[in-house]
């Protein structure tokens, strides 16, 4: 069982990321997952978060209490949700957008310039998919195949190629770095 939190701004694909992870786990990895979202009235720029609970059995309580993984794509999101991160959890951040506090407990922290990488790929909207590739490689909670299928399944057909490329870029970034 794992509890995952994505946090950032509206427009960064935070909720879509949650859906893709949930879908990868429950449809393609045949586990159980529940995805919840919280967003403000703004379409863009408001605080936004999504939470995924992964489990081998049916998820009853659908919320994150102590997160095992925190993916922060904004300073605000990091500040708000860092305290609820498990002492042994994993922290993933966009290094251009988040400045971290000194490490706490046995938290493993990884950073990636996901927005910048996405811009290199042509459009910043791929930032979340780059992050998802990074997430998949770093946490191994969901299989790479499952995630790729979920990504392909969640975006318009004409963008599948770009998204898979972005996913791979994030995945490779982790592998190359470590």
């Amino acid at each position: 069982m794992a509890e995952i939190r994505f946090a950032g701004y509206g427009g960064q694909g935070i909720i879509r990321s949650g859906i893709i992870v949930g879908k990868g786990a429950s449809i393609y990895d045949h586990k159980f997952s529940t995805m919840n979202q919280a967003f403000g009235p703004e379409a863009r720029g408001g605080a936004c978060s999504s939470q995924v609970v992964l489990s081998d059995t049916k998820v009853l309580y659908p919320y994150v209490t102590v997160s095992d993984v925190l993916v922060a794509m904004s300073q605000e999101g990091y500040d708000m949700f860092e305290p609820e991160l498990n002492d042994k959890g994993i922290l993933l951040i966009d290094e251009d957008l988040v400045k971290t506090k000194p490490p706490r407990g046995k938290i493993k922290s990884f950073s990636i310039p996901s927005t910048r990488l996405a811009e290199e790929l042509g459009n910043r909207v791929f930032a979340n998919v780059v992050m998802l590739g990074f997430f998949t490689a770093a946490t191994k909670l969901v299989s790479k195949e499952g995630m790729e299928k979920a990504v392909a399944d969640s975006v318009p057909e004409r963008f599948i190629k770009h998204n898979l490329k972005a996913f791979q870029k994030g995945y490779d970034y982790y592998k190359d770095k470590l």
Partner: protein, 91 residues
């Protein structure tokens, strides 16, 4: 002379020079100011603000004539100009 207090041509026409102020943190990088500045004073920068947008930067500051279009067209209230000085036009 009833029509002009000052003889015509004695006082040189003046042109205002403006100073642009940008609140980078408020900017959402829409690019309106850059596009519609009549004097091409502004350009988008490469730096990120904390929300991940690229705010504009001043590249041709001395060309600003304090027309205020950037101020009016900015949807974020994050840019405005003030009058720095007025200089006489060279012939």
């Amino acid at each position: 002379m009833r029509y002009w207090e000052v003889p015509f041509g004695k006082e040189k026409p003046k042109t205002p020079i403006g100073e642009i102020h940008i609140l980078k943190e408020r900017c959402k990088g829409c690019g309106f100011c850059v596009e519609y500045c009549p004097k091409d004073v502004l350009e988008m920068s490469d730096e990120f603000n904390s929300k991940g947008y690229h705010p504009p930067k001043i590249v041709n500051g001395e060309a600003c004539v304090n027309c205020g279009l950037c101020e009016t067209i900015c949807p974020e209230f994050s840019i405005w100009c003030t009058l720095k000085e007025e200089v006489a036009l060279e012939n």
